[in-house]
Symmetry: C2
Subunit: 273 residues, 2 copies
Amino acid sequence: MNTVAIVGVGLIGGSFALALRKAGFQGKIIGVSSPATVQKALALGVIDQAMPLAEAAAAADLVYLSQPISQILGTIDVIDAHVCPGTLITDAGSTKAVICERAAAKIKRGRFVGGHPMAGKESRGVEEAEPDLFRGRPYVLTSGEPKLEAWIERIGARLVILEPVEHDEQVAFVSHLPQLVSTALASVICGGIHDADPAEVAGPAAIDMTRLATSPYIIWRDILETNATSIEVALDLLIMELERLRAELVNPKMALKFENAASAARSLRYFQR
Amino acid sequence: MNTVAIVGVGLIGGSFALALRKAGFQGKIIGVSSPATVQKALALGVIDQAMPLAEAAAAADLVYLSQPISQILGTIDVIDAHVCPGTLITDAGSTKAVICERAAAKIKRGRFVGGHPMAGKESRGVEEAEPDLFRGRPYVLTSGEPKLEAWIERIGARLVILEPVEHDEQVAFVSHLPQLVSTALASVICGGIHDADPAEVAGPAAIDMTRLATSPYIIWRDILETNATSIEVALDLLIMELERLRAELVNPKMALKFENAASAARSLRYFQR
């Protein structure tokens, strides 16, 4: 692999570039982004060179699409004409079914493998990029691809191979549901306490549980739109569970509820660093 | 203040003892706990001496009740006979109305002021005690008391004075609701994904949002029992908000929902270190 084109040099694209470098990638990293972003990315040493999409695609052995989902779809619509035959194209979009379907229809000369690094933070932009963002985190590919798998391992992420639809069903629970819960919780904490400032009494529980609520909607709009059905299922289950907890607040059954939830939470941590 | 008796030398009681020491308290710290716990607390240097409750209460200028709520109530029932007239008694229970009502009925020779340090972690026990546990966190008193206020300031906590009922209404939102949400979320994430291990794809969102779910029920049983009505109100509002988000997943209105929640979450962080 000699040349990588990062299309969308934000938190994820920038972190992938830095992670590749740290893992020993010696080739050229080209950035495709707005003029303001490429200037920042060049100044930070995240990319070696900036190019328009068509030129970057033609020069690259690996094209990495790390834009918001709707822009990834737009790039997929136009990129195939520009890549050399057989060029590997992957993406970092948070949902996979819509993207992989579009890629199957549009990418014929290139080879597309969907990807989703399960990492991130509330802040955006190439200034926030970190070489270790993916370390210890799951990195989903929608099918096996030896070259990508090798780099995923080298950057310290944990490879998981999942069909696009299966991926979307699972992230509805582990990623999209926690986001919506945090958003709802922040609204209710601040709207539910009258005649008082909840910040005065907010301890670690309120702070940690509303951290995700500060995430930007611009990212979430596309996720909600491309995974609405699975998210509705997850929300329904959560609402039912909250209703059960409400009904049993002072019931001895709550002991079992807490124990089961605690053991579920511990099992979720199995792969954590 | 020459002698402090910590009744219940666990995470909170032990941390209060260490915090007092770090803040320059020169007097004696007596621990009242199970034999196994006082042995650990003595070995860790958290307390200077262990005594039974009656003796400790008689020797202390300040009695600090840091047991689970039901045990605090039991101690309040019996302690008044043992303290010197005017001895200051406070507690660290997570709800205040039931405790303060009981204290008003039972404590006549001593002077009771309810307290609630809004700090903690999922792990329990004196081994987990830290001198800085309260630093930057709210510390609620149910009425002003100059001696206590001075020490709260010295240990780096942020004094908030709240009536017991008002306290309980507010912590239903900032503390008890986040706990139940985390508990429900852990159950749903692990119960909702069939034929797959959610740990495989759990990223930072799932991990952070289910951290509280590992908290022990033994603490929560008493909290739920003594604050059920306020918690039901908070749960109802959250369920309604989740139903609204579900109905508007792909509606442009979500932009405003996310923006409002993000600004609520940021406002909650106003006093954070």
